[in-house]
């Protein structure tokens, strides 16, 4: 459990330009995961 937020990570997390592209990326990724389909589990085995 040694993970720490480094200064350079912190700069990326707060940089509006980088974050704008992360926003687009995250929106699409979440759309893909949530809309990627769902179904049952019982007939697949």
């Amino acid at each position: 459990m040694e993970a720490k937020i480094t200064e350079s990570q912190k700069r990326k997390m707060t940089n509006p330009v980088i974050q704008f592209f992360r926003f687009i990326y995250l929106s699409l990724k979440i759309l893909f995961i949530v809309e990627g389909g769902h179904g049952g589990t019982r007939n697949r085995e």
Partner: protein, 485 residues
């Protein structure tokens, strides 16, 4: 003509009613029964609780919308279920009690052909002595009224801190089996940021108290997340965030009694301890509403419909944690005794928890109940609506629309502070929601990549975008149905 009655106008009830209305012709009747006159977008209560949003911006009145959309609305609460009718009527019905207007206090039999029970949870504050929102310096953000109280309490404390007071803030779960840790996680980070904005952060000790065994369990048995170019456990991620924000934590604890500024709790080690606070936000346990059901002859048959929450097509056989599987989780949310009754969202009885159950040395259960967040609530409501539509249109008893929490993804965009330029969010997605340890044995039951975590300003924008998108959708504005659940 079919009559579909939807109990509850929260995320799942409203989604179901909206889809039914859109896809069924006017000859079919859709009626929503709910005690609250407003729709509220609950996830944004976090921001109401830190004074960054007014409750008016997260709610709107249901009656005018339903009138415009030709959805019937009864402002009442369901009390009793009569799924076989009674001596006087063959039609199944629900007894509802009006909570407003001229008929307040009167009850009515609301008959149905199909019933969707989307009544969500009862916020069971009574299960923890002294845990009363707005009393004993404890607050809640579970409803907009609670969140308003919370902000009032917090802003008064901030004023006192500006005058030199040092304060202790306690946020987390208020019962050994509470769920919804995610909401408390968001709130603690927002409160922390608010104190920084008001320049009183150095005057406060902020502590997370939770029934989780590890940080980042979230009632979902924790997660292995893709993070940056590698992978990270959710426990590590939350620890990293708490350390960064100077937040302390107490884990494996069951708050059992609250007195003015004191939270008494039991730990997994069996010790009884007390935490002192000036402001606390503790999520209560959730329970069913205590509904009763009766057969045609008036004999109680509640056990056919409820085990706390509503019984659906889950496998409720008691088994140890090691034998739990995704197949235990429901797929259609249909009651096995009455095939015209469904329960999406939080209203259905889960087969068991998701997190490993634990008891203290004294035998007290201390582990989270399973959460059912907004996205799965919406998705399960939509698939229930689609199955009912198939039943009505094609007389199809076979339910083709399925969605197990063991085969469904969800996103949890946790606000970590409000602000267009200085806000932050912890974006987490999981697939599946219920871990499938057989399918993904090496990654804690989840698919890496589809299960990921990210921290940054983009998370705040995303949560804000979702706020506006889901309120737009809930208001059923043009093309609302294009916005996914």
């Amino acid at each position: 003509m079919s009559k579909i009655v939807v109990l509850g106008a929260g995320i799942s009830g409203h989604v179901a009613a909206a889809h039914l209305r859109r896809k069924l012709s006017k000859q079919h009747q859709i009626i929503v029964v709910s005690p609250n006159s407003n729709y509220q977008w609950i996830p944004s209560n976090i921001w109401v609780g830190v004074g960054r949003m007014k409750s008016e911006s997260i709610l709107f009145p249901l009656a005018p919308l339903y009138k415009r959309k030709n959805i019937g609305f009864i402002q009442a609460k369901a009390i009793e279920f009569h799924p076989e009718g009674d001596d006087n009527t063959d039609k199944p019905y629900v007894t509802c009690e009006y909570v407003a207007g001229a008929n307040k206090g009167e009850s009515e039999k609301v008959t149905y052909d199909y019933l969707i029970n989307a009544t969500g949870p009862k916020l069971n504050f009574e299960a923890t002595e002294g845990l009363i929102p707005g009393k004993n310096k404890t607050y809640s953000v579970c409803t907009y009224t609670h969140a308003n109280h919370a902000w009032k309490g917090l802003s008064e404390l901030i004023q006192e801190m500006k005058n030199g007071k040092t304060a202790r803030i306690l946020i987390g779960t208020g019962h050994g089996q509470s769920t919804c840790q995610g909401a408390a996680f968001e709130y603690i980070l927002n409160v922390e940021q608010e104190l920084r904005k008001h320049k009183v952060r150095d005057k406060a000790e902020i502590t997370w108290i939770s029934n989780e065994y590890e940080l980042g369990d979230f009632g979902m048995d924790g997660m292995m997340l893709s993070y940056g170019k590698g992978a990270m456990k959710s426990s590590e991620m939350v620890q990293m965030v708490f350390e960064e924000r100077g937040i302390k934590w107490i884990l494996g604890s069951a708050v059992q009694k609250v007195e003015e500024g004191l939270a008494h709790y039991e730990t997994l080690e069996g010790e009884f301890k007390t935490e002192v606070f000036d402001f606390a936000m503790l999520i209560p346990s959730f329970s069913g509403h205590g509904f009763k059901s009766f057969d045609r002859n008036g004999i109680e048959n509640t056990e056919k419909l409820f085990r706390g929450f509503m019984i659906v097509d889950a496998d409720y056989t008691k088994k140890p944690y090691e034998e739990w599987s995704v197949q235990d989780w429901p797929e259609t949310y249909q009651n096995p005794s009455y095939d015209n009754i469904f329960a999406p969202g939080i209203a259905f009885a889960p087969p068991h928890a998701i997190s490993k159950p634990r008891v203290s040395k004294n035998g007290t259960p201390i582990s989270p109940a399973p959460p059912r967040t907004g996205m799965p609530s919406g998705i399960t409501a939509k698939l229930v609506a689609d199955n009912i539509i198939d039943m009505i249109k094609h007389n199809n008893k076979k339910l083709n629309h399925k969605g197990s929490l063991g085969n469904m993804g969800a996103a949890c965009i946790a606000s970590a502070g409000f602000g267009m330029m200085d806000g932050s969010g912890v974006s987490i997605t999981t697939f599946p929601i219920v871990p499938d340890y057989k399918k993904y044995p090496d990654t804690q039951g989840r698919k890496l990549g589809k299960t990921f975590g990210e921290i940054g300003l983009a998370g705040h924008w995303l949560k804000l975008a979702l706020h506006y998108a889901f309120i737009y959708k809930a208001k059923m504005k043009p093309f609302w149905w294009l916005i996914p659940e």
